[in-house]
Structures are given as structure tokens and as C-alpha cells.
């Protein structure tokens, strides 16, 4: 388990915060409503703890939108929420009274786009503020266990995952989701090095 200093934590939160703020603006414009996105917590954890953090069993069904990034650092950015919330998310972004049939029809593409907006906004902030170069691929939608989404890894795997809880809210509904940044091999260190240089610049 890697510990983060308060400043490291603040910096990452700030970056994701800014990204999420932009994502919220995009979503809000699209649906012509307020979208509240809050970021209460950030953790750097190992595989086994990701499962614990997401508070579900390994094989509980989730919906995930995953984007591959490469360049200055590489890995996967993943937006995860319990499968039963995926329809609620789409519903909250669309007409509350929309029949379930139409919702189902919209679900997949809508989720892809929502994921794309949120993940691009976060990754875009990294690119802008850290002045680095990243290539970001199209989002892919997953349904199934978290293990499947993260890509079957042994629980002994000591890869570091950066996990943030994110609550989407429009009007009444509160939908909990998680942002997971999974860096390939030792790119976590590369990412943190970028964060450090950013912090140094601000002092």
C-alpha cells in the first residue's frame, strides 16, 4: 500500500475535480439540468482493496465504461457503478417519466457517452494541467463482475489502483459510482512524478 501526502492527494483531487466540473457542465448542458458531482475520497489501493472499496463481492454485477490512455503514462480509466444503477443513471440524465423500454434502448449508447464525457474530462485535465501528452481511445462498455472489468488479476497482484468515489446527482436521485485509474506496470510512479513536479511548480 502506497501512502499519499496531503499535497499529493490535494493535487490529484484538484485535477479530477476540475475534470469532473467540466464533465458536469457538459452533462448539464445536454440534459438542461443541474448535475452534481462530488468527490469525497481518493485512495491508492491494491487489487484486493479495490473490491473492498467498491463494497461489493467480486462477482457482483457492475456496469463499467473503460477508456484506454497511453502516452506520457498509460493505463485504463474506468467509470464503475452497480449494474442496477446504470438504468437509474440514464433515467436521471433523461426524462424521469420515460418508459423503461425506451430507457433500455438508450442505455448502452448513453452510458458510453456519459463515460466518455466524465473520463475525457478527467484525463483532459491531466493533459492540460500536467502539460503532458496522452492518447485516449474510444470508450468500451462492460457488464459483469468487477474482476472481469478490471481484467482478471490475481488477488496477490500488487498493481496500484487509484480509486475515487463519485456521486452523480440530478434532482432526486443519487447514484454512486467510482472512478478507477489503473496504470500499467510502473506508470503509477510516472504519474506521481508528474504530480510532484506540478506541486513544485505551485509552491
Amino acid at each position: 500500500m502506497m501512502d499519499l501526502s496531503e499535497l499529493e492527494r490535494d493535487a490529484i483531487c484538484e485535477l479530477v475535480n476540475i475534470g469532473i466540473g467540466q464533465a458536469a457542465r457538459s452533462l448539464g448542458k445536454m440534459v438542461d439540468d443541474r448535475v452534481l458531482l462530488t468527490i469525497p475520497a481518493l485512495e491508492l489501493v491494491e487489487y484486493a482493496n479495490v473490491l473492498a472499496m467498491l463494497g461489493t463481492e467480486t462477482d457482483a454485477a457492475v456496469t463499467a465504461i473503460k477508456e484506454r490512455f497511453s502516452g506520457a503514462f498509460q493505463g485504463d480509466a474506468i467509470l464503475v457503478f452497480p449494474e442496477k444503477h446504470s438504468l437509474d443513471l440514464v433515467r436521471s440524465l433523461l426524462d424521469e417519466d420515460m418508459p423503461i423500454e425506451s430507457l433500455t434502448e438508450l442505455e448502452q449508447e448513453s452510458l458510453l457517452e456519459v463515460g466518455n464525457i466524465v473520463l475525457n474530462a478527467c484525463l483532459g485535465t491531466f493533459i492540460n494541467i500536467l502539460s503532458c501528452r496522452l492518447e485516449i481511445d474510444l470508450p468500451v462498455l462492460f457488464r459483469g463482475s468487477i474482476a472481469k472489468v478490471l481484467g482478471q488479476r490475481a488477488t496477490a497482484d500488487n498493481t496500484i489502483y487509484m480509486v475515487m468515489r463519485i456521486d452523480f446527482t440530478t434532482q432526486k436521485k443519487m447514484i454512486k459510482g467510482y472512478l478507477v485509474f489503473l496504470f500499467d506496470s510502473d506508470f503509477t510512479t510516472t504519474f506521481l512524478a508528474q504530480i510532484h513536479s506540478y506541486i513544485r511548480m505551485q509552491r
Binding site: 448542458k29 434502448e105 448513453s110 492518447e135 474510444l138
Partner: protein, 713 residues
Amino acid sequence: MTIPTICSPDELATFLREGVDKADIGYIVIDRNFRVLVWNRWMERASGKERAEVLNTPFVTIFPEIKESRLEDAISNAVQRGMAGILSAKLHRTPPLRLHRIDGDTTPLTNPVIIIRPLEGSVPERNGCLIQIIDETNSAIREKTLRAQALALRAQEEQLRTLFEAINDSVLLLDKDGSIVALNDTACRRWGGEKDAMLGRKFLTFLPSPNANIHKRHFEALASSGMPQRFEDSLGEYTYLVSMFPVPNGHGAVHRIAMLASDITERKAFERRIFHLAHHDALTGLPNRAYLQDRLEHAIDLAKRMGRRLALMFLDLDHFKAVNDTMGHDSGDALLNLVAGKLQSSVRVTDTVARMGGDEFVVLLEPAGQDEDIARLTEKIISTLDLRWGSESDAIRVTTSIGVAVFPDNGHDARLLMKAADTAMYVAKAGGRNTFRFFSAEMTERTMERLHLERDIRDAISREEFELYYQPKVCFRSRKPCGVEVLLRWRHGERGLVSPAEFIPLAEETGLIVEIGEWVLEAVCQQIAKWIREGRQPVPIAVNVSPKQLFSGDFVALVISCIERYSIPSRYLQIEITESAVMADPIRAATTLAQLRELGINIAIDDFGTGYSSLSYLSRLPIDVIKIDRSFVAGLADRRENLEIINAIISLARALKMIVVAEGIETKGDVEVLTNASCHLGQGYLFARPMQIGDLERWLDARQPDHECWGCK
């Protein structure tokens, strides 16, 4: 990306251009300044803008609607930061680009999917992006259909699952080896397991072994025969109705086995309750007559096989009616409950105590010991049931009479045994109550009838079942009525008119005749008083008095009291007494009759000629009238010897100053003969049948009684 060199660069460029042009999607490449570099044929048709028009034109100029939109953001992200993007028109209120469909009509393209990919140039300044626009209309329709089907299936599945879980019965789906494939929540609860832990395991392992055996047998029967199984099983306090039926696969073979267990505990309890209600007496909760019948038949079957004895006691409370009448029905009911309780605690658990209704109970001893043992128990019951009921001051003593019948001695079936016990009980009652009798062969049906009759006579007075009929006597000389004999009729509640020949002897025997006689005497005096009151001159009324009454000791006092009470002249009252009665105790008879005669009452000897008394002996008695028995009168015209006897009687009677009455006058011949024989009076159907008072009065009015007739003086 390396381009394979199987063709020349020129050829490749042509193919690429043509390929892009013929693609079935919108294909646009723009540079970092948003200027259009590639615009394929699809775009020309969807936008209506020729390639020449748009090349090198900023994208925002071509589509002003994208300003500050999500699409513009996405394109910027791609061009400036290398981020790919996807836009689905569905999530947006308005289409991101104003295009129309290319298949002939100009319908707006409402649901394109736009995919944006960054393109890396030779230097960052030459970066650009590729915009692909895909018309999802057709695939959307197909998808919509598929989704609708999937939704319908999902809904159906959901309904089935909801039903499956909502069912309050346990439902399990089993594999052919008995392992659990599916089960609902009810099954989990009933079988006390976690659903996940139960799935895949053999269902028999969740049952206690006796239950498992039953289930196993039926499961195997189904597996081998394919026939549905149905059976009841109980687990603790619960009772289940278990159904197992085969679930065929597509080819009709048994694929799986469905098992349903319905909790029928309540239904069973209800059935028991209904059974109890139908078989038990509501007041005491004891088995009722129907149930006892059942038990008795079973007991007899069993006793026959085992060579055992049974005893059946028939109990009847003495004086229960008095309790009900004086203390009310609630008190009566309480007494019955007390008796029920005492009876039950007097016998063994194997014995049955039942209530037949009213104050009748039956105890079935199963098995029964020897007669002495039975008698001992019966005595114990009698003493247990010897009670004082009610408050101290006006308590009523309640006792019990019991009749006992024994199998096989007194009968081989339930009906005979019940009858025998009932008979014995009546005998016990007749024998003074608060006692018991074993049935014996002497207690024949005749005895029983007499006992019943006796009971009925007892009730007849209070129920006012007795009626008085009057038969006139006619003077042969004047041919006018000059008196009547009163006769008793009994109109029984169930049997109709009962012949006096049937009940009088019994009433005599039991002494009830005294009570009846008193009633008759009273009624007659009342009638005479009524006639006087109405201003009608009475005719004398003759009352038959039984020897029991005559000799009761206070008969004279009774007559005096009646005459005085109704203030009637004694001459209107006559007493008839049979010859045999007088001859039974001539001395006592003489005393009593003399006292009556002193009062001015006429005395008649009835049925004269049937006994062996001599007329000369009778002459010493205080007698005014002799009534010749009908047997001498019948067929008088043909039977000379009877006429001689009658002539002898008449002449002697006349000599003794007695009046002669001939009974049973039925023909005119009789009248002629008797008139010639100087008989005073006649009585019989020829003159009049016995009549009720109203008819009598009309009959008398029509004939003007001869009050001065010699025989009536």
C-alpha cells in the same frame, strides 16, 4: 501504420479515396484549425453540400449549430489533446449535426452516432481529427425489435419469478438424481437453509430421516413410473401436502421433477375441528350419539377378534326435569357439565363417555371385566352422581339410574347392545331410581312397552291427554234417556287414541289409577255443577272406580270434598265398581260402599255375571244397580240360555229392589227381548255411542231425558 506494398502508391491512393467515398458512413477529416480536408460522398448526400463547397472551410462555418456544443468540445479534445470521443444523438435534446438521411427522402437524421478520433500529423501542428457519422436508424429499428422481445421475455421471466417467490408453498425443482436445481424463498424458510447452500445438494439431506424415507419412496416411484405423486407428511406441528410431478424436456421424457409442499396444518386443524363438532356434543364436549355409535361398532369388531368383553352403561339422571323447571336451563346445563366431568374422571382413558342428548349419557367400558367388576364401577358411579343441586334451601337431590348391557352376553351388535342397556335402564328407573340393573332376558319388549306406557300415563294427566266420553242409558219403558256413564279416553301424543283395555290394567297395577280416578271424579263433579249453573237439569253421571281407589282409604273423603266443593246434589253422582273388585275384599268393600250410600250416592255393580259371585251374596251389600255384562246380551235373540240367566237376574234384582242395566245393546231384537224381560235400562251403540260433552248435550236436548224414570230415581 504500415501500408502493405502489394500495389503501387498511386493505386493505393485511388483505392483509399474510392473506399472512403463509397463508405456507408459520413467520413470527415479536419485539421487542427477545424478546416475540412476530407468530405466523402455520404457527407455530400447527407448535408446537401458538395465537396468543392466545403473543402478548406471551417467546420463551424458549415455547421454553425455546433458552437459551444459537446461536439465542438469533443472535436477540440481530439485535435488538441488526442482524445477520442463518442456522441450518441440519443442523449442529446437536439441532434448534434443537422443532416438528413441519404436513402432518398429528406427525413432529418435524428439519431446518428458520431465517433471522433484524433489523427496524428507529421508534426503537432499538422494534427487533425477524423469524424465518422453513422446512421443508426436501421440498426436502431432492428435493435428495437430485439430489445422489445428481450424485454417481453425478461418481463415474463420476472412474472414467473415473482409468482415463484410469492407462492406460499414450498416449490423445488429437482434434478433426476434429487439435487436441487431451484427453490423459492418459502422452501428456504421451511427447510431452514440458505438458498445458495441448498442449490445443487440432494433435497433428501434436508429432511429428518422418517420424512426423507417417505419422500424417497415417492420420488423413486415417480422416477420409475413417470406418474405424479401426492402424499401427506408432517414435520413437527406442521402437516404438508406434497405433490411431485414430472417436468418433461422438449421430447416428452422426464427431465426434472417439480415438488410442491403446501402447508395444510390449518386445514387439518379445521378438519379436526369440524370432525369434533360433528362428533361431539356442543354442551359437554363429550362424544355424541353418532360418534358413540362409531366407537361402539369398532369396539365390538375389536372385542370379537380379541375375545374380549365390553360393557355399555346407559345412564339417565333422575329428577333432571325438576332442575330444569325450577332452576332454569342454565342451571340444568351446568349440572350436565358437572355430570359429564364426574363421569369422565370415573372411567379409564380407554373407556368412552358420551352424551346421548337430554339427561342421558352412555359409558362404554372397553374392555370390560367380569360382572362383579362392572357392578362395582356402576355402584361407584351411582354414588358419585348422587348430588344435591342448587342452593342449600331449595336444593334438589339428583340421582342416576343405570342400565348395563354386556357384549357378548346381551347382544352381538351395537344396536342390540344399546337397546339392551336402554331397557335395563328403564327397569332400573321403574325399580325406584338411584339404582342400576344388568340387562336380563326377562326384560322383554313387552315389559319395556309397559314401562314406556307407564311413563306416558304419568305424563298424560299433566299434558291433558285424557278426555271424557259419555254414553247414555235409556229406559226400556219410556225409551228416554235417564243417565250416562262416563268413560275415559286417552289421546296419546304419538300413538293417538289408546284403548282403555291397554292402559287401565297397567294404571291399576302401578297405582296410577288413583290419580286418574281423582281427576275423573273432579271433572264429573265440575260438569254437573256447570249444568246446574246453566239451568239445565243434570242427568246422573256414573263414574267407574277402580278397586285400588276404592280401597285407598280416603276415597270417601275425596268424594265428600268434591261434592261439597262443587255444591252438587249427591244423587247426580253414581259409582260403578266391578263385581270382581268387590269380591276381592267384600268386607272392606261393603264398608266403603255403605259410607258412599249414606251420602246419597247410587252404587252400581259393573260387568255383572263375569265373576263367580252369587247374587244372593251381593244382596247383602249396599248396591242399587246391577249392570249385566255385554257378553250375556250379545246375540241374545239366538241364545236362549243367556236369556234364562238374564231373566233370573232380573227377577232376583227386582226382588231385591235393585235396578238392572243391560250393556251392549246393539240390535232392535235385543231391545224387544229385554223389554219383554222387564229389564229397566239399556246401554249400547243402538242407543248411542259414547260422546263428548257437546254432542251429549245436543243428544239429550233432542230426547228430553226422563228425570222421573223409575230407574233413575
